[in-house]
């Protein structure tokens, strides 16, 4: 038996080797490189191999960097909040109200927009919200407004709206999966024991759905903080987020150490915020086991 499990371990390790080495080569090595670069000095057209903490000093003291970091963090938190709040009732509806044989259709309908060109979807929001866009031209055409509304484009709100739209399925699916796992008899028990519908939701459904909500929050929060397309297209380049700043330092200004330090800091911030969030919600995750 022991030799059997040993050969099984060897087989498993052999099988996992090709994808693992690919990820080591194409993901781990590059990540290791930018971590190393972030501690080196920038020279003209090259990276000088002198250890320094100046890049991080710059990242943490420069007011522009700080404002861009805070904006990225603010935007992605706002997007996460909006997306998850809007998505929860939809996941609840599909899981607990829709008939079982119709669920697959609903999920299919929800995922289709996600698979269509991200760039075009983002651009379409610009078309909808723009100065001469769909909303403004319709409203002026109907005589409801005289001047196009300017507050709906090139600002943080339009970035939040666009991202909330783009990440909607990411929030719905994990919550749906968590709701599907709930034993339906628990909900009936809550009702039978005299709880109101609202209290059953609050004390039974929501705590049991929390692992899904937590997954949704992380799945939306982590990629949005590094989004490049939306601030570029919707913000018109005037409201950069951290991804735009990394790109400018790395390529336009050719300061790879500083660009690397920005990237590493952004990853650290994401990791710390996610860690704090998981820690605050640890009791919901323990329930699942």
């Amino acid at each position: 038996m022991s030799s059997g499990s040993k050969s099984e371990a060897v087989q498993g390790a052999t099988l996992i080797a090709p994808p693992f080495f690919y990820a080591l080569l194409v993901l781990a090595a590059p990540l290791f490189t930018i971590v190393t670069y972030s501690f080196l000095t920038d020279g003209y057209l090259e990276v000088v191999r002198d250890f320094t903490l100046d890049n991080y000093r710059h990242v943490f003291t420069d007011p522009i960097v700080r404002s861009v970091m805070m904006r990225s963090l603010g935007v992605s938190m706002m997007v996460t909040l909006v997306t998850v709040l809007l998505a929860f009732p939809v996941a609840y509806y599909v899981s607990l109200v829709v008939r079982p044989e119709r669920k697959a259709l609903w999920l299919f309908l929800i995922t289709i927009p996600f698979w269509t060109s991200y760039l075009i979807r983002v651009f379409l929001w610009k078309v909808i919200l723009g100065y001469n866009g769909v909303i403004n031209s319709s409203l002026t055409g109907l005589g409801l407004i005289d001047e196009p509304l300017t507050f709906i484009l090139y600002n943080v709100n339009s970035i939040v709206l666009t991202l909330a739209h783009a990440y909607a399925p990411f929030a719905i699916l994990p919550i749906f999966v968590a709701l599907e796992k709930i034993d339906r008899s628990l909900l009936e028990a809550g009702r039978d024991l005299g709880e109101s519908r609202l209290m059953t939701f609050w004390r039974v459904t929501l705590p049991l759905a929390m692992p899904g909500v937590i997954a949704a929050v992380l799945i939306v929060f982590i990629p949005t903080i590094g989004d490049y397309v939306t601030p570029t297209v919707i913000g018109g380049g005037k409201i950069p987020m951290i991804a735009n700043m990394i790109q400018v330092q790395m390529l336009d200004l050719d300061n790879r150490p500083l660009g690397s330090a920005l990237a590493v800091t952004a990853m650290l911030i994401v990791a710390v915020v996610s860690g704090i969030f998981l820690f605050l919600n640890r009791r919901f995750l323990r329930v699942r086991r």
Binding site: A9, Q11, G12, A13, L15, I16, P19, F20, Y22, V26, L27, A28, A29, P30, I34, P89, V90, Y92, Y93, V97, A104, W106, L107, F108, I110, I112, P113, W115, T116, S117, Y118, L119, I120, L124, W125, V127, I128, G133, V134, N136, S137, H165, L173, F176, E180, P223, G226, D227, Y228, V229, V233, I246, Q247, L251, R256, G259, A263, A266, M267, V270
Partner: protein, 273 residues
């Protein structure tokens, strides 16, 4: 009972409105793709198919399409092959460090793409590698792999191990059993993984933007055209074609995913993710 029906009704209206919000931008695509006005605004001018003709005649677009197809086909094949190894290993065997290794392989799913693209770019430039569609394939394979693994793991885990054991007992070699029993049973999952990887790669912008050098791909071509207002109607036409294409691919992927579940006796629990 009445209040229950009422609550369901309210939620239903909300869910339908939410679907409308999800689809609103996409529904505008065909509207403006067939509109003869050059400005994307209401009221509409008239019907035209000029934008599709203009799109068809664009040589750069055709080059971008060829590049994108080459990249998407190659990356989806590489990602699915690597995914088969990982999904098989994670569902069938237990080995040391399985959790961390699988977590690491799945990491690109949650890592911001700009980080993947930038770190890879820095290494490639540092190593003196010429940027081309090959470097894009390298990056796309990495980001498609976790999605392929997620789909393939479902296919492999709903597989009954006794079928393989029966094949061994009847004298098949490991490879023979895999080729004759396992692979045909997970085939729908493999096709589904190929289609999803293909769709992701075809649509991916960030990695293509930074790693393609001077070669255009569809998304980077679209991005470069967005600056010119006169070209927007043509982009709307292109968007219409792309959306129609994705829906067809997705419907195919969904069809094969369901067949895979039916074949291996699994329960249909829903979506593609």
């Amino acid at each position: 009972m009445r209040s229950g029906a009422l609550q369901g009704g309210g939620l239903r209206i909300y869910a339908l409105l939410y679907l409308l919000f999800l689809y609103a931008p996409i529904l505008l695509l065909p509207v403006f793709a067939f509109n003869s006005g050059t400005i994307i605004a209401f009221p509409l001018k008239g019907f035209t198919t000029d934008w599709f003709a203009q799109m068809w005649a664009d040589a750069t677009l055709r080059r971008a399409l060829t590049n994108s197809l080459t990249i998407a086909v190659s990356s989806s094949i590489f990602a699915t092959c690597l995914g088969i190894f990982a999904a098989r290993a994670s569902t069938r065997f237990s080995f040391r460090g399985k959790g961390p290794i699988m977590g690491f392989i799945m990491l690109p799913m949650v890592l911001p793409e700009i980080i993947v693209a930038m770190s890879l770019l820095v290494v490639l430039l540092g190593a003196g590698v010429q940027l081309s569609i090959l470097t894009v394939i390298l990056g796309h394979t990495l980001i498609c792999m976790p999605y392929a693994i997620a789909i393939l793991s479902t296919a492999f885990s709903s597989l009954d191990p006794s079928l393989e054991e029966a094949a061994y007992d009847l004298g098949e070699t490991k490879w023979g059993a895999f080729r004759l029993i396992t692979l045909p049973l997970v085939m729908p999952g493999v096709i589904s993984a190929l289609l999803i990887s293909f769709t992701i790669s075809l649509d991916e912008f960030i990695i293509a933007f930074f790693l393609a050098g001077n070669e255009p791909t569809l998304p980077t071509y679209i991005f470069s055209q967005l600056r010119f207002p006169a070209l927007i109607p043509m982009i709307m036409a292109l968007g219409t074609v792309l959306v129609a294409l994705s829906i067809v691919l997705l419907a195919l992927g969904e069809y094969f995913r369901r067949r895979s579940l039916a074949k291996t006796g699994g329960k249909n629990t829903g979506g593609l993710l």
